[in-house]
C-alpha cells in the first residue's frame, strides 16, 4: 500500500487550502438546540399535549365566560333559586334543558301542574306511605316559577298594562278570594300565589265534576268580572302576575342559566368564569413573581457563595418552615381590610413561594460557576452580572420552567382551599372564587348537586391538566431522560 503513493508525481500535489476549497460538506439538516429538542420530545408525549389543549380551553373559558354570559357575577334573582342547567339547543330533549324527572305525591303533582311546570307525565302509581297514596313520575321544568304577588307604583303599573296591550301577553292574573275557607293553614298557603285553587284542610285539592281544580278567583260583585289588582290607600298596586312573563317584561330577557343557578339565583356560568379568572390569574402571577425573586436570590446565593450564601440560606430555611396556611391566614387577617383580600393573598404566596426556585437556581450555580467557560468569560472581562445572566443562568432555565409550571396548580389549589374555608372572604368584592362557590354549593349538595358540580369539575380538570402538562414538560426539559423509553 505504502509503495503506491511513492509513484505519485510531485506536480499532482497541491495545497488544499490554497483556493479555499473545502471538501467536507455543510450540514444539510438544521441543528437541534436544547429547546427544540425539548419541544420535540414534549409533542411525542400525547397525554401532555392533550392536557395542554384542555388547559388552553379552560383558560379560554375563564377569559370569555364572564363576557359571554348575560348575567353579572353578583346579579341575583331570588325567585329563580337552584334552576337546573339549560341550553336552548337542547330544549325538549330532557337533557340540559332545565328539567328533571321527579317522583312526587298527588298533591305536589297538582301544584306543579297548576302553573304549567309539568312537561310530561311518565307514570301514575300507588304506594302506601304509610297510607295508600297516588304518586306521579313526571318531567318537571324548573324554569316555571308560576305566579307571584308583586306591588307596583302607579307609574310602573301603567307601564305594565301598556306592555300587555302592546305585546298581547297576559301578565296579570286574577286575585284570589279565600272566603271559601276559614282554615288558618289554608289561608296561609293561599298567600303563595301558586295555590289559586280550592284545597281541603289536608292540602288535597278539590275537584269539580269534570275532575278539574276549582280556581278561587276574586270576582267583582257588580260586574261579575275578575279582579286583577288591589289598590291600597297609597296608590300602590298589588298584582298577581305570571312571574316568568313578568321577568321578561322587567329585565328584557328570558331566564337562561347555562350551568344553572345557585341559592341566590345567580348564574353559575358567570360566577365560575369569574372564579376561574381569579384562580388562573393568581396562579400565573404568583408563579411569575416567585420565579423572578427566586432566580435573583438563588443566583446571588450560588454565585457569591461563602458568608452571603450561609446567611441567605438560613433565612430561606426558616421561612420555609412556616406552614403556609398560617402565613396565608395571618396575612388575610392583617391586610385584607387594608389592601384587599387578593393582594394580601398574593403577598402571602410570594413571601415563601420563591424558596424552591431559589434552591434550584442555587444548585445550578454551584454546578456551573467553577467551569472553565465561566473562567474564560471572566478572563475576557465579563462583569458578574453578565456571567450570572448570560453564561450560567441559561443552564437553569429547564428546571425553572418545570418548577414554575407546577407551582401554578399548587397556588390555585391553596387559594381554593382558603376561600372554601372562608379564610379569604370575597363577599364584599365583585369577583368570586371557585372555593367560595364550592362552599356555597355544599349545603345544597343533596337536592341541587349542580351548584357544586360545575366548580368541582372545573377545578379538578384544571388540576389534572396542569399536573399532566407540567410533568410532560419536566420530562421534556430533562436531558437525562433523553432516549430513555419508559
Amino acid at each position: 500500500m505504502k509503495n503506491e503513493y511513492n509513484s505519485i508525481p510531485k506536480e499532482k500535489f497541491e495545497f488544499a487550502s490554497q483556493e479555499n476549497i473545502r471538501f467536507d460538506q455543510k450540514f444539510e439538516t438544521k441543528p437541534i438546540g436544547y429547546f427544540k429538542d425539548a419541544i420535540m420530545r414534549f409533542t411525542k408525549n400525547k397525554g401532555s399535549v392533550v392536557a395542554g389543549v384542555i388547559l388552553l380551553l379552560l383558560i379560554a373559558f375563564a377569559v370569555f365566560a364572564p363576557v359571554i354570559s348575560s348575567y353579572g357575577v353578583n346579579e341575583q334573582y331570588t325567585q329563580y333559586q337552584y334552576l337546573l342547567p339549560k341550553n336552548k339547543m337542547f330544549e325538549g330533549t330532557g337533557f340540559w334543558d332545565g328539567t328533571k324527572v321527579k317522583d312526587a305525591s298527588f298533591k305536589e303533582y297538582v301544584y306543579d301542574n297548576s302553573h304549567g311546570a309539568v312537561v310530561e307525565v311518565f307514570e301514575e302509581y300507588e304506594q302506601s306511605n304509610p297510607t295508600l297514596m297516588k304518586y306521579y313520575k313526571y318531567r318537571f321544568d324548573t324554569y316555571k316559577r308560576g305566579f307571584l304577588y308583586v306591588t307596583l307604583e302607579a307609574s310602573a303599573y301603567q307601564k305594565l298594562v301598556q306592555y300587555e296591550n302592546d305585546n298581547g301577553i297576559q301578565l296579570r292574573y286574577p286575585m284570589l278570594d279565600t272566603s271559601y275557607t276559614t282554615n288558618a293553614r289554608l289561608l296561609l298557603m293561599h298567600k303563595e300565589a301558586n295555590y289559586y285553587y280550592q284545597l281541603l284542610p289536608d292540602m288535597t285539592p278539590i275537584f269539580d265534576n269534570e275532575g278539574n281544580i276549582i280556581p278561587i278567583y276574586k270576582v267583582d260583585d257588580i260586574t261579575g268580572e275578575y279582579i286583577y289588582e288591589e289598590v291600597t290607600s297609597t296608590s300602590v298596586y298589588r298584582l298577581r302576575v305570571d312571574y316568568d312573563q313578568y321577568y321578561v317584561f322587567q329585565y328584557g330577557k328570558e331566564p337562561l342559566y347555562l350551568f344553572g343557578s345557585d341559592s341566590f339565583g345567580r348564574d353559575i356560568f358567570a360566577r365560575l368564569g369569574s372564579g376561574a379568572r381569579l384562580s388562573i390569574a393568581l396562579g400565573f402571577s404568583v408563579a411569575l413573581i416567585n420565579i423572578l425573586i427566586g432566580v435573583i436570590y438563588g443566583a446571588i446565593e450560588g454565585y457569591y457563595g461563602g458568608t452571603a450564601d450561609l446567611i441567605m440560606e438560613r433565612i430561606a430555611d426558616i421561612l420555609i418552615e412556616i406552614p403556609s396556611i398560617i402565613l396565608l391566614t395571618l396575612f388575610q387577617i392583617h391586610f385584607a381590610g387594608k389592601i384587599g383580600p387578593i393582594p394580601a393573598l398574593l403577598f402571602a404566596f410570594v413571601l415563601t413561594g420563591w424558596i424552591s426556585t431559589a434552591a434550584r437556581v442555587r444548585m445550578q450555580f454551584y454546578r456551573f460557576k467553577r467551569q472553565e467557560y465561566v473562567l474564560a468569560a471572566r478572563t475576557l472581562g465579563a462583569s458578574d452580572g453578565r456571567i450570572i445572566f448570560r453564561h450560567i443562568l441559561p443552564n437553569a432555565i429547564g428546571t425553572i420552567i418545570t418548577g414554575s409550571i407546577l407551582m401554578v396548580p399548587s397556588v390555585i389549589f391553596s387559594e381554593s382551599i382558603l376561600s372554601y374555608l372562608g379564610i379569604v372572604d370575597l363577599t364584599a368584592s365583585d369577583i368570586t372564587s371557585i372555593g367560595a362557590m364550592l362552599n356555597a354549593g355544599q349545603t345544597s349538595l343533596q337536592y341541587a348537586p349542580h351548584v357544586i358540580f360545575f366548580p368541582a369539575i372545573f377545578i379538578s380538570l384544571l388540576m389534572i391538566s396542569f399536573n399532566v402538562f407540567g410533568n410532560g414538560l419536566r420530562d421534556a426539559f430533562n436531558p437525562s431522560l433523553r432516549g430513555v423509553e419508559e
Binding site: E321, P323, I326, S416, I417, Y420, Q442, N467
Partner: protein, 321 residues
C-alpha cells in the same frame, strides 16, 4: 450521627424561636376583641389581659409570654371558644379526634398504596400498570374536597349507606359501630391522596431496583423471580418509603383542615378554623405553633430515619470517611 442530630436540633430550635417571634408579633398586633365565650366576664377578661401584659410594649409582652411558657407551660387562656380554659387543654382535648381519623387513614393507605405500587412495578408498562398510573394521577390532582363531596354525594345522598358527618364520640364511644361507620368517608377522603403518593413512590423505587445489577445477579445465581423480588428488590425499595411513612405518622397529629371541616370532625383543624372565626388569638397562636412544631419534627424524623433504615446513607460527617 450524634453531631448531626445536635446540629439539626439546634437549627430546629432557632427556626422555632424565629417563627414564634414572628407569629407572636403579628398576632399581638391584631385588634382587641371582647370576650365572647359562654359565661364570659368582660371586666375579668380585661384584668386578665393586664396580667398577661397586653398593655406593655410588644417586646416586654414577648418576654412575659416566653417566661410563662418556660416556667409554667402557660400559653394563655381561651376567651372566645371556651372561657378561661388553658389553650393547651383546648387543643389537647381535640387531638384524639384528629388522631383517630388520621390513624385509620394511614392504616388504610399503607397496605393499599404499597400493594398497588408493587403490583404496578411488577407489571410495568402493561395495561394494569397504565390503569394504576392514570388512577394515581387523578387521585393526586383532584383536590381532596372534591373527592370528599363526591363520596358524600354517592354514599350519603344517593345510596344513604353512610352518614355525611362524623358522629360525636362522647355519645357513642370511640369504637362503637356508629362512630366507625361515620368516619369511613373522612378516612377514605384522606386516604385517597396518601394511597396515590405511596403507590407512585413504591412503583418508582421498585422499578429502579428491579433493573439494577444485583437483581441480575440474584436471578443468575438461581433465585426465582418471586424470591429475588421479595428478598432483594422489596427490601431495597423500602429505603425511601420508610421515611415517608414516618413523616405521615407524625403529620397525623396535624390533621386536615378541609376534611375535618367537611365531615365535622371535632379535631385540631376545625379548632384552627374556629379560632380564626371567633378571633381567639391565644388559641390561634398555640395551634399555629403546634403546626410549626409538627412540621419541624416530621422533617427531622424523616431525615434521621433515612440513616436508620439504610446504613449506606451516612448523615452528616465530613467529606471523606
Amino acid at each position: 450521627m450524634g453531631k448531626y442530630i445536635i446540629k439539626r436540633l439546634y437549627l430546629m430550635v432557632l427556626s422555632l424561636f424565629v417563627i414564634m417571634t414572628f407569629l407572636f408579633i403579628l398576632i399581638r398586633l391584631l385588634p382587641f376583641h371582647v370576650a365572647g365565650a359562654p359565661g364570659a366576664d368582660n371586666d375579668y377578661a380585661l384584668i386578665l389581659r393586664e396580667a398577661y401584659g397586653y398593655n406593655e410594649p410588644i417586646l416586654v409582652q414577648y418576654g412575659i409570654f416566653l417566661w410563662n411558657i418556660i416556667t409554667k407551660f402557660d400559653w394563655g387562656v381561651s376567651m372566645q371558644i371556651s372561657w378561661l380554659t388553658p389553650v393547651s387543654k383546648v387543643l389537647f382535648d381535640r387531638l384524639p379526634s384528629t388522631m383517630y381519623v388520621n390513624l385509620f387513614a394511614i392504616l388504610v393507605s399503607i397496605p393499599i398504596g404499597l400493594g398497588l405500587g408493587i403490583f404496578a412495578a411488577l407489571r410495568k408498562n402493561k395495561i394494569e400498570d397504565q390503569i394504576i398510573s392514570v388512577g394515581v394521577m387523578l387521585a393526586i390532582s383532584v383536590p381532596s374536597f372534591v373527592t370528599a363531596f363526591l363520596l358524600q354525594y354517592i354514599f350519603y345522598s344517593k345510596l344513604g349507606w353512610l352518614p355525611a358527618i362524623m358522629t360525636a364520640t362522647d355519645e357513642s364511644g370511640w369504637f362503637s359501630w356508629d362512630t366507625i361507620k361515620s368516619i369511613i368517608l373522612p378516612v377514605f377522603s384522606l386516604a385517597v391522596g396518601s394511597i396515590a403518593g405511596f403507590t407512585r413512590y413504591t412503583r418508582a423505587e421498585l422499578t429502579e431496583v428491579l433493573t439494577s445489577d444485583f437483581m441480575l445477579l440474584a436471578r443468575a445465581k438461581g433465585l426465582t423471580r418471586t424470591q429475588a423480588t421479595i428478598n432483594h428488590a422489596l427490601r431495597n425499595s423500602m429505603v425511601p418509603i420508610f421515611p415517608m411513612i414516618v413523616g405521615e405518622f407524625i403529620s397525623i397529629l396535624g390533621g386536615s383542615l378541609i376534611i375535618e371541616n367537611i365531615f365535622a370532625v371535632p379535631g385540631v383543624g376545625k379548632l384552627y378554623l374556629t379560632s380564626i372565626q371567633k378571633l381567639d388569638y391565644d388559641v390561634f397562636m398555640f395551634v399555629s405553633m403546634f403546626y410549626v412544631v409538627i412540621g419541624l419534627v416530621a422533617a427531622l424524623m424523616v431525615d434521621l430515619s433515612y440513616g436508620i433504615v439504610d446504613p449506606r446513607i451516612r448523615i452528616g460527617g465530613g467529606k471523606a470517611e
